[in-house]
């Protein structure tokens, strides 16, 4: 009896060894099969747009420069034609052709995997800028419809939106429209965005971003809020990097058209009545129209103080002026209007070609050291130079003092300003521009308005 019991006990566990019950699969196919199918789907979708896709491309870790419009046409054989509205390693509007692929390492990934002179302009590193513009060229698919694909940059995480172009779309014409819009917008530095007369926020333009500030009422507290809204310039206005929401007001906005007659942004999102009007804060300095006219220019050359009458005239409305005085300047200078502050700046610039010596003339940032009689100049054209400081018309006289804008370090006791220098056709420095009637050193510049 006992033996049978042992036997039964030994056999019992064996009877328990069974297959697990069949579990219903949640999906019809394996994860790998689904990813492969998604890849195939995206490949087909990209190539299905015969007239390509309009792409909102944002480089930079914080999208701090704003976005640029690109046009990409994906061919079924893995070749992509890429064009950008801005100059890259190719001029704006020129097509760069390279390869693309649809990968599957983090979900479904679109990769521009051979060198493209447009796309990789935004990623090209260098010794002086190790991340380049920090732009992505591999993008993870987030969602797609037949007309719109949303992706996110794999390395830097910026959003990428592609919109299908209809057959009539012409990107070259679109670029012209974008440039025209950008030109109109460049005149204005500050806006107040308001909804039904109530200000939602004020915005200062920095590159293609709005530096936004507003006050939010939180219970009994008033909180100062600042934010950045990167945007892209479209053929008609601007589109924000992503919808911006003012939570306490329940307003979300994204797309604006520029009304140039009334000089304001108009929100074109359905059901929104938001406008962005030109705005001058209390501490805004001078408006564009307040600068042109005759001024006395005081300057040192090199030590002695001199003064001559100069004329400032409109060059490009709301953007630049010409400063001329044939008595002392063979070539007039270009002044830039800084619309966000209401002031002027005078930067290192190319002035013109001097035929007798066949030299190019440049005005460069410069400081003169009176104790030694020597000076240092900085020939790179870009951001070095002077910025205007307005005296707020104290004593009834309008004065603008042009001081070092901070991009050049000038020792204490030196005089800062501009110097005129000559360069040969290859761009190599030759020497000082001694043929200029007023000499080649102009430092400690002060402008005083003499008429209205």
């Amino acid at each position: 009896m006992k033996k049978r019991l042992y036997l039964a006990l030994m056999i019992l566990p064996l009877l328990c060894a069974r297959c697990v019950p069949v579990v219903e699969d949640v999906f019809d196919s394996s994860a790998a099969e689904r990813v492969t199918a998604k890849q195939r789907e995206l490949r087909a979708l990209l190539a299905s747009a015969e007239n390509g896709w309009l792409v909102d491309y944002y480089p930079d870790k914080q999208a701090a420069r704003g976005g640029y419009a690109m046009h990409v046409r994906f061919h079924a054989d893995g070749v992509a034609d890429v064009v950008c509205e801005r100059e890259t390693f190719l001029p704006a509007g020129e097509v760069a052709t390279s390869e693309y692929d649809i990968l599957s390492d983090q979900s479904v990934v679109l990769s521009f995997n051979t060198y493209n002179k447009v796309m990789h302009f935004f990623s090209e590193p260098s010794a002086s800028d190790v991340d380049g513009w920090a732009g992505d060229y591999e993008f993870i698919l987030r969602e797609s419809t037949s007309d719109k694909i949303e992706m996110v940059g794999k390395k830097w995480g910026r959003r990428l939106v592609m919109r299908r172009c209809d057959p009539a779309f012409d990107f070259q014409a679109y670029i012209d429209d974008v440039l025209a819009t950008a030109d109109l917008l460049s005149a204005f530095g500050m806006f107040a965005f308001q909804s039904n007369g109530e200000v939602l926020f004020t915005a200062t333009v920095v590159d293609r971003t709005f530096d936004v500030s507003y006050q939010e009422i939180n219970g009994t507290d008033t909180v100062e809020v600042t934010a950045k809204i990167p945007y892209i310039i479209t053929d008609k206005g601007v589109r924000f990097y992503e919808p911006f929401t003012r939570t306490d007001k329940g307003v979300t906005i994204e797309n604006f058209e520029w009304n140039n007659t009334d000089e304001k942004y108009v929100c074109v999102d359905p059901g929104k009545s938001v406008e962005g009007v030109i705005y001058f804060p209390a501490d805004y300095e001078l408006k564009y129209a307040e600068i042109p006219g005759k001024w006395i220019l005081e300057y040192r050359n090199p030590n002695a103080l001199q003064a001559d009458t100069v004329e400032i005239t409109q060059k490009k409305k709301n953007a630049t002026y010409t400063l001329s005085c044939p008595k002392i300047f063979m070539f007039p200078f270009e002044l830039t209007f800084v619309a966000s502050k209401g002031t002027i700046s005078l930067l290192t610039q190319a002035l013109g070609f001097y035929e007798p010596t066949e030299h190019n003339i440049r005005a460069t940032a410069y400081y003169y050291t009176p104790s030694t009689g020597g000076g240092n100049y900085y020939q790179d054209i870009g951001t070095r130079g002077l910025r205007g400081v307005w005296n707020h018309d104290e004593g009834g006289t309008r004065k603008i003092t042009l001081v070092n804008n901070g991009t050049t370090t000038a020792p204490v006791g030196t005089y800062f300003g501009l110097t005129l220098r000559t360069f040969d056709k290859a761009g190599t420095y030759v020497g000082t521009f001694t043929a200029n009637p007023g000499g080649y050193r102009f430092t400690e510049l002060v402008l005083t308005k003499i008429d209205d």
């Binding site: 033996k3 042992y6 036997l7 030994m10 056999i11 064996l14 060894a17 297959c19 394996s30 790998a32 099969e33 492969t36 195939r40 054989d77 390279s98 390869e99 692929d101 990968l103 390492d105 990769s111 521009f112 995997n113 051979t114 060198y115 493209n116 990789h120 990623s123 090209e124 590193p125 260098s126 010794a127 190790v130 991340d131 380049g132 920090a134 060229y137 591999e138 794999k154 390395k155």
Partner: protein, 294 residues
């Protein structure tokens, strides 16, 4: 009791034969093979790297294949082709000529990756990197000017890296004698090799062929091989002259160990390899770096 055991074993055997049903193997892989266009660079790489050497030559950049601490851009395909042709002629076929084709088939890195840009940090740019004998990455491929290919440029940017990294594989498989480390035992400085105090002049005086050779003995060892192979005749003697004493004799002592190691462990004559590589440099002009079919 014996009977019970017999019953039990019989039952267990029967049960073990009873298992869950298995699906048969899928008839087709879920992964799609890339379509090779005849006459394409991909096809050329397949025929010149994958089939003969079992090497994957990657020129289409995937960021997961790179060190994501660096920002990099892909290679221009034309430049990738030129580098592929140069490496094949100057590195793989040089070894084939000296050692026979099976040597590289057995020992080479399995993946070569070319990248358009360098790997930049604020103070440095890397020209290449290697991962444990499996993969080697060459950077700055887009900077190659095909019309201006010469021994100095190719050595500096690509070939020295190839010979250097491949030599690591050799000593990882068969270690060299500890006598090598004893020649300049107290002069290895790890990361300090980059310091301003370690100039090339000082490195030579202390018996090192390059600044980097001072990092540690294995780097020292492979630097000697790489420089010795790619530099022209007379270069080694010139380095000894610059090194003076005792640097020159220390360099020769190290070179002796390197040569006997290669001969004894791998039946590889370093002087023969040097001569073959130098001859191939002189033949480089005959190589068409731009045409897939030539």
């Amino acid at each position: 009791m014996k009977k019970i055991v017999v019953y039990f074993i019989a039952c267990a055997l029967a049960a073990s034969a009873w298992s869950c049903a298995e699906e048969g193997p899928r008839s087709k892989s879920i992964f799609e093979d890339p379509v090779m266009q005849p006459g394409s660079l991909d096809q050329w790489l397949l025929e010149n790297y994958t089939y003969p050497y079992n090497i994957q030559f990657m020129y289409k950049l995937r960021d997961i294949e790179t060190d994501r601490g660096y920002e990099m851009v892909p290679a221009i395909p034309d430049k990738a082709l030129a580098v592929a042709k140069i490496l094949k002629y100057m590195f793989y076929e040089a070894y084939d000529e000296v050692m026979g084709v099976d040597f590289m088939r057995s020992h080479s890195q399995r993946v070569i990756q070319v990248v358009g840009s360098g790997a930049y940090t604020t103070n440095t740019v890397k020209k290449g990197s290697a991962e444990s004998g499996m993969k080697i990455s060459l950077y700055l491929v887009n900077d190659l000017t095909i019309a201006r290919v010469n021994q100095e440029v190719l050595s500096e940017f690509y070939l020295k890296t190839m010979f250097h990294e491949f030599s690591h594989i050799l000593h990882q498989k068969r270690e060299f004698t500890t006598a090598f480390k004893q020649i300049t035992p107290s002069e290895y400085v790890n990361d300090e090799w980059m310091s301003d105090g370690n100039t090339l002049e000082i490195a030579l005086q202390k018996g090192f062929i390059s600044r980097y050779a001072r990092a540690e003995p294995h780097e020292d060892f492979v630097e000697i091989i790489a420089f010795y192979v790619v530099k022209p005749d007379g270069w080694w003697e010139e380095q000894k002259r610059l090194a003076g004493d005792p640097g020159a004799s220390l360099l020769d002592a190290k070179l002796d160990i390197v040569k006997s190691y290669l001969k004894e462990s791998w039946a590889l004559d370093l002087d023969v390899l040097h001569a073959v590589v130098q001859r191939r440099f002189s033949e480089l002009g005959e190589l068409n770096l731009e045409d897939l079919l030539k």
